[in-house]
Amino acid sequence: MSITVKNVSLPRGKSWIDNTYVIPVFKGLMLTFRHLFKRKDVLRYPEEKKVLPPNYRGLHMLTRDDQGREKCVACEMCSTACPADCIRIVAGDGGWEDSREKHPVEFEIDELRCIFCGMCVEACPEDAIDMTDMHNLADYTREDFIYNKERLLGVYDEYIKRHPDHAKRRDGVFKKMMNSSYFTVSDVEKAKHGTGH
């Protein structure tokens, strides 16, 4: 293949005055000067915080039932669904005094391994594991990021104090998503006929 040379002519101004660049530079300066006083599109973070949606996928929590016990039945659906393999559950018998057949003796989530995909929440048949809006996790050691059962229940207690109506809010969002016209009929038709996007 031979080398082809393409001569690209520089864009020229309308008149020789434009080509001296004095007035264009001045125009440019005026443009940037106007931007000096525009609204600053920033959130002053520690003072102002963004309100996150109820279905935000932050730190996990283990929800409690009406008797204050964890809802979890240690079915291990979440740890099976987890693509990052960050959930470790040791199941145990409820015993005679406890009405539950099975419950987790140990429940650990390694938040450093977690990819916050939310598949554990989707997999859970008991709504026992859920996600909060807490995203600013900071600690000193790797071990501190392994959340055990007590800590995850503690996250629930803290979170429910701030959002007592969490379940209702979240369900509302999901319902809205289901009813929304995100997938239209024509989309489905197109997909059927293979002429989609």
């Binding site: 530079v25 440019g28 931007h35 000096l36 525009k38 599109d41 002053r44």
Partner: protein
């Protein structure tokens, strides 16, 4: 009061040092804040009220950092180079007049040295800065530093020519190299920018090139040369380069003000009915205002114009600015002759 007059130049020495040294932290803050505002950001606002103590934090950081001298450097040149940057930057302050005061019936120039070569002195001393950059770049023994230093030397030398030529018109009109005479000439007629619009444009452009500021910051060109000539410098040695750069900017702003913006001249101040001493103080303030505006322009231009390519820089310098400056000199001479 009259006994004070001979000591004014000596009093001006600490004043000029304070002016130069206090400009640097102010400019660090202005640079960061204005840069942020132009990009819809807030800028530093953590340290002190409104982030006003940020320059102090920056300076303390610079002081307390480890002073690394790499093994592969030419040690003596490496240490001498930053000092050589600061020395001319402060030395030029010696002839810059800040204004005039009437003390006991006598006009006293607020200036350290009353030399009759004023502007030549400024040009001569400020061009020593190129040695600092070239030495620093060479001593660092680093290819990026060397590239930056080489570019810088070429750039500063080629832009010194149009710079010298552009002020020639003003000197011909005034008939004096004294900076105070140049200001007096403008006070009695109109500002230099009206006499010499082309000279002003060329001087203004070359001032940016001489101080290595955008759009002529090829010496640093962080996208391609890491940091150019000061790549290997850390701690206060880097701080010295920083200080020198801002001092050079201040000197350049002073020169633009004195040569083309009427120095401490305030239009229509003569018709104002106030005490002459107050008037003179207003004039000093006007000088400060003009210089401050020019310093702001440095930051403003930085976020408006992109960096020149090396060949574009050389083209502009040698093929455009020098012929234009020469033409300006010839035209001025012809007009003055008739």
């Amino acid at each position: 009061m009259e006994a004070l007059i001979p000591f004014i130049p000596y009093l001006m020495i600490p004043i000029m040092v304070i002016v130069y040294l206090s400009t640097v932290p102010i400019m660090i803050q202005v640079e960061r804040k204005v840069s942020a505002w132009l990009q819809y950001r807030m800028g530093p606002n953590r340290v002190g009220p409104l982030g006003l103590l940020q320059p102090i934090a920056d300076a303390l950081k610079m002081l307390s950092k480890e002073d690394v001298i790499p093994n592969h450097v030419n040690k003596w040149l490496y240490i001498a180079a930053p000092a050589l940057m600061v020395f001319p930057a402060f030395f030029v302050a010696g002839v810059i007049p800040l204004g005039v005061l009437t003390i006991a019936g006598q006009d006293v120039m607020l200036q350290i040295g009353h030399t009759n070569i004023g502007i030549l002195y400024v040009l001569a001393i400020s061009s020593i800065a190129v040695y600092s950059i070239a030495f620093g770049a060479w001593a660092s023994n680093n290819k990026y530093s060397l590239l930056g230093g080489m570019r810088s030397a070429a750039q500063m030398m080629s832009y010194e020519l149009p710079m010298g030529l552009s002020i020639l018109g003003m000197i011909m009109l005034t008939g004096s190299l004294r900076l105070e005479e140049i200001v007096n000439f403008q006070m009695n007629s109109v500002w230099g920018i009206v006499w010499q619009p082309l000279g002003f444009l060329i001087f203004f452009t070359t001032a940016y090139a001489e101080t290595n500021r955008l759009p002529f910051d090829l010496t640093e060109a962080e996208a391609e040369l890491v940091a150019g000539y000061h790549t290997e410098y850390s701690s206060l040695k880097f701080g010295m380069y920083y200080l020198g750069e801002y001092c050079n900017m201040l000197t350049a702003s002073f020169m633009v003000t004195i040569l083309f913006l009427g120095g401490w001249h305030v239009p229509f101040l003569g018709s104002l009915n106030v005490d002459p001493f107050v008037k003179q103080l207003i004039q000093v303030g006007a000088m400060a205002f003009k210089v401050a505006f020019l310093m702001f322009t440095y930051v403003w231009v930085r976020w408006t114009l992109p960096r020149f390519r090396y060949d574009q820089l050389m083209n502009l310098g040698w093929k455009k600015l020098i012929p234009l400056a020469l033409a300006n000199v010839v035209i001025t001479a012809v007009v003055m002759a008739f």
